[in-house]
Amino acid sequence: MTDAPETRTMNMIQAINSALDIKMGVDPDIVVMGEDVGFFGGVFKATEGLQKKYGKTRVFDTPITECGIIGVAVGMAAYGLRPVPEIQFADYIYPALDQIVSEAARLRYRSAGEFTAPITVRSPFGGGIFGGQTHSQSPEGIFTHVSGIKTVIPSTPYDAKGLLISAIEDNDPVIFFEPKRIYNGPFDGHHDRPVTPWARHPASAVPTGHYRIPLGQAAIVRPGEDVTILTYGTMVHVVAAAVAEKGLDAEIIDLRTLVPLDMATIEASVKKTGRCMVVHEATKTSGFGAELSALVQEHCFHHLEAPVRRVTGWDTPYPHSLEWAYYPGPVRLSLALDKIMQD
């Protein structure tokens, strides 16, 4: 038996920072780039101290030029580097969409596997921070729709580090969305209550060294018999709180990786419970929940006792005022849980 690894209490930012640090320390091909990531250490401080430690050639500020940042990263990656570009907020990723979709995602395919783009695009995403329409979006469904890239979303410090290490080591482009609402502590969906810091959550005990969480493996956050709830990111915690408040025996699955998806875990759970609810912050129409609901129906049709239900953000732009009316929080979850158990 090996000794248990040394751990330290980390919040999500520190865990991400630690993953970057660990990987940069052993692999000189890794470079970190983005707006204000170097000198400033990132607006959320995820890259703090890295420029000091690894120098300005490996950790550097870029101009405000998202399309350029990703395009340059793809070229660097094709020629052997492993860039980890940061897009400061997921809402700013759209100018880079062309490079992600047409170049990063397609390079391997069209060069018949001769060239690849092993970049990991880190980007804080999601709402609950009163950021309005340009600082709150959840655009993961846009990326899961594109073949040739992977999409990863952690929900705890422990997962964030292990998944980020796997993403960086992965030989394909990965979009790594960080739920910024829970950078400093898990969020139970009650915006009027103070945030509990990560330190009180077991997943804040993060090994200081190297470890991986494989891409494509979901986690069963809470085993249960009554209903399967598929979710990811901040909503893992919002759902867990809602389930606890209701005293329901729900099985909560944190997908962690949307592409590739851990269908086996989902299938086994839904076949056991016979009910399935999907929860995400992103808008409903053509959201990732639509994909999940179709898959569950294809794989588990004869086991379903109720229609698959989705609880999501409304089909509107992310609002400035009325954020909590938009957010799929405790009230909406509670109603939906009642409904699915009666169906």
Binding site: E35, D36, F39, F40, V43, D61, T62, P63, I64, T65, C67, G68, D91, Y92, Y94, P95, I129, F130, G131, G132, Q133, T134, H135, W314, D315, T316, P317, P319, H320, S321, L322, A325, Y326
Partner: protein
């Protein structure tokens, strides 16, 4: 000149109040103050004709709206996200619009408004309405690719657009020379044959002079022109900015030496305006701002149903 003074002071006091309301939690999310840059919007927009010309800018937009004489009450109420806000609480600090003033917004995505402004100018030309579009953007935004796509189209089609780079020397924590290969930003149009002028953006009269020149050029059908306004923001980038990238002394030195409001006050006094008159003006402005703050605090929030309005035309 006294009117310039009043407008700049109104912007300054308004922004100070917005900062306070933010501190009290009445304004949430993202809020970028214009303090230090007042002379830019005031000088430039004074040379425009409301109803004929159009204006578009980024997210640091409160000053541009105030410079147009838009009611501070509805601007402040937009910041607090109330139904009475100029964009009914839907846009917030970064996204405000006014049809009456041809003010095409506040835009949160850095650089996006530059292409939009080019399109507005296209319409001015298409309609032959004699209008020009003033398209503001920051020194940081000047590195977005679509700025140059827009420059090319604007000159190619000789569009009536005045591109205004508000060079306040920083994009968040990054100074101009750390992000720009050519840091003399007025030269950024050269390879598109767009003439550029560098202007002291802390001197409202200089700004007004440059604006007149630019408007004359553009209205004459000569195509776009680029103005680089050298200015400075006193406050943090937004409300959460540890300001590690510059020293207090640097900020202090600018405030002392080149404050646009103090500068104009001195000129006014030299012309015989009494200090007491300026003080009275300040009092008047403070009262307007206090009234706006009260209004913005008391106005009700939008109804939940507003979530679903204006997503698409008609019912949705």
């Amino acid at each position: 000149m006294l009117e310039f003074y009043r407008q700049m002071l109104l912007i300054r006091r308004f922004e100070e109040k917005a900062g306070q309301l933010y501190g009290l939690g009445l304004i949430g999310g993202f809020c970028h103050l214009y303090i230090g840059q007042e002379a830019v919007a005031v000088g430039l927009q004074s040379a425009l004709e409301v109803g004929k010309d159009s204006v578009i800018t980024g997210y640091r937009d409160h000053g541009h709206m105030l410079a147009y004489g838009i009611d501070p009450k509805v601007i402040m109420a937009e910041l607090t996200g109330r139904a009475a806000g100029i964009s009914r609480g839907k846009g917030g600090s970064m996204h405000m619009f006014s049809v009456d003033h041809g003010f095409y917004g506040g835009h949160g995505i850095v650089g996006a408004q530059v292409s939009l402004g080019t399109g507005l100018a296209f319409k001015h030309k298409y309609a032959g309405d004699g209008g020009v579009c003033v398209t503001y953007f920051g020194d940081g935004a000047a590195n977005q690719g679509q700025v140059y796509e827009s420059f090319n189209m604007a000159e190619l089609w000789k569009l009536p657009v005045i591109f205004v780079i508000e060079n306040n020397q920083y994009a968040m924590g990054t100074s101009v020379n750390r992000a720009s290969a050519e840091d003399q930003l007025y030269r950024r149009g050269e390879s598109f044959r767009i003439p550029g002028l560098q202007v002291d953006g802390m001197d409202v009269l200089a700004v007004r002079g440059a604006a007149e020149e630019a408007v004359a050029w553009v209205r004459a059908g000569k195509g776009p022109i680029l103005l680089e306004l050298k200015t400075y923001r006193y406050r943090g980038h937004s409300m959460s900015d540890p300001a590690k990238y510059r020293s207090r002394d640097e900020v202090q030195a600018v405030r002392e030496k080149s404050d646009p409001i103090d500068h104009l006050a001195k000129e006014l006094e030299a012309l015989g305006v009494k200090e007491d008159d300026l003080k009275a003006l300040d009092k008047q402005v403070r009262a307007i701002v206090a009234e706006a703050a009260d209004f913005a605090e008391q106005a009700p929030e939008p109804e939940a149903g507003e979530l679903y309005t204006d997503v698409l035309v008609g019912d949705y």
